[in-house]
Amino acid sequence: MPKLSALSEIQRKSMLMWPCIEHDDTPWTPMAKSLSESKVGLVTTAGLHLRGDQPFRSSHDGGDTTYRTIPRSTSSADIIQTHTSLGFDHTGIYRDINVTLPIDRLPELVEQGKIGSLSDNYYSFMGALRDVSGIVEDSGPEVARKLKDEGVDVVLLTPT
């Protein structure tokens, strides 16, 4: 986003009052090997999923903390978005899903030798959640285990 000072007062207050978790410190995992030797996974909070998957749901009690699996081989034609927020412009995603989920860009980086390889599956959560405890306690660790089981070294996180 542009600096909050550039937004309207309502938008600025909305962003500043958002109930995100506050931490005192940061878990730190250094790179074990170079990116060109690493397997990269992709996790997004864009509310994307396969056509035919259960849609994400609106909720008055914090939001939908489930996740969906998007196999790397999925065509962009088979991915849709049921993100529950109206607070963003969907036009770019209609035009090109890579603007939030770089499914075509990452293989290009593999071809260029900048990334070693990609995981077989990507993972998608809802964003704009007011209560993320379901992710912290359940769905987040579950996805982390799946990524580790695939031998992922580096995870790229994208919002929408």
Binding site: H23, W28, G87, F88, Y94, P159
Partner: protein
């Protein structure tokens, strides 16, 4: 595992303190900068992966703000003129169908329509469903799965209708700016007026779920 990522609101990353984050100057919906601009998307990705080289954190760096999309225009910023022009949503759907199909054909079948699972050729029925709901009728669609209630299903229907209109308009005006498409939808189409009326109606229902859905339909 080592993580790196993109954040749209830098102030939130300052509070959460993830290990490595690139703060980008783009509005929601444009995390990698710009649609159909692979070169710029690679620039954002490179800057995000560059954070992996830092040896301590939290790392929160900024991408230079040399490209900033326009602020999203909401429906309430406009006055809808469709009723004065005698337009109705059902006829609009018919008129836009060829453009929507043109969009799909030129994008290898890719479309954002699909959340409701209702084929676009049945969208006139969706309009009747929404109109009936607003007027207080006991209304439903056979395509609604049992585990998705009516308010949630209405949201999925609206998402599909909007995507249909936007994609049709992008086929009709390939060089149109995003803001012009929003302005067209909310101020000139009968569908924009219908969606706004649905959002207003649902926000007045004494049910928190309906109100939550309304917030994501129109404001």
């Amino acid at each position: 595992m080592t993580t790196t990522g993109i954040v749209l609101i830098e102030e939130h990353a300052q509070r959460v303190k993830p290990p490595r984050m690139l703060a980008v100057p783009f509005f929601f919906g444009n995390a990698l900068g710009e649609a159909d601009n692979p070169e710029y998307q690679h620039k954002v990705l490179q800057a995000t992966f560059d954070l992996l080289d830092r040896d301590q954190g939290p790392v929160l760096e900024q991408l230079p703000d040399d490209m900033v999309p326009d602020i999203l225009m909401q429906g309430s910023e406009t006055t809808n003129e469709s009723s004065e022009k005698g337009l109705n949503s059902a006829d609009e759907l018919t008129e836009l169908r060829a453009y929507y199909e043109q969009w799909m054909n030129s994008h290898d079948g890719r479309t954002a329509v699909g959340g409701s699972s209702i084929p676009q050729r049945r969208f006139r029925g969706v309009v009747r469903f929404i109109e009936g709901f607003i007027s207080g009728e006991e209304t439903d669609m056979k395509e609604r799965p049992e585990d998705i209630n009516v308010p949630q299903f209405l949201r999925l229907c609206v998402n599909d209708l909007k995507a249909f209109y936007y994609e049709a308009r992008m086929a009709q005006r390939p060089d149109g700016a995003d803001r012009d498409i929003h302005d067209w939808f909310w101020s000139q189409t009968a569908m924009g007026a219908l969606v706004m009326a649905l959002g207003t109606h649902m926000s007045g229902i004494d049910d928190k779920e309906s109100q939550a859905v309304a917030f994501g339909i129109a404001r």
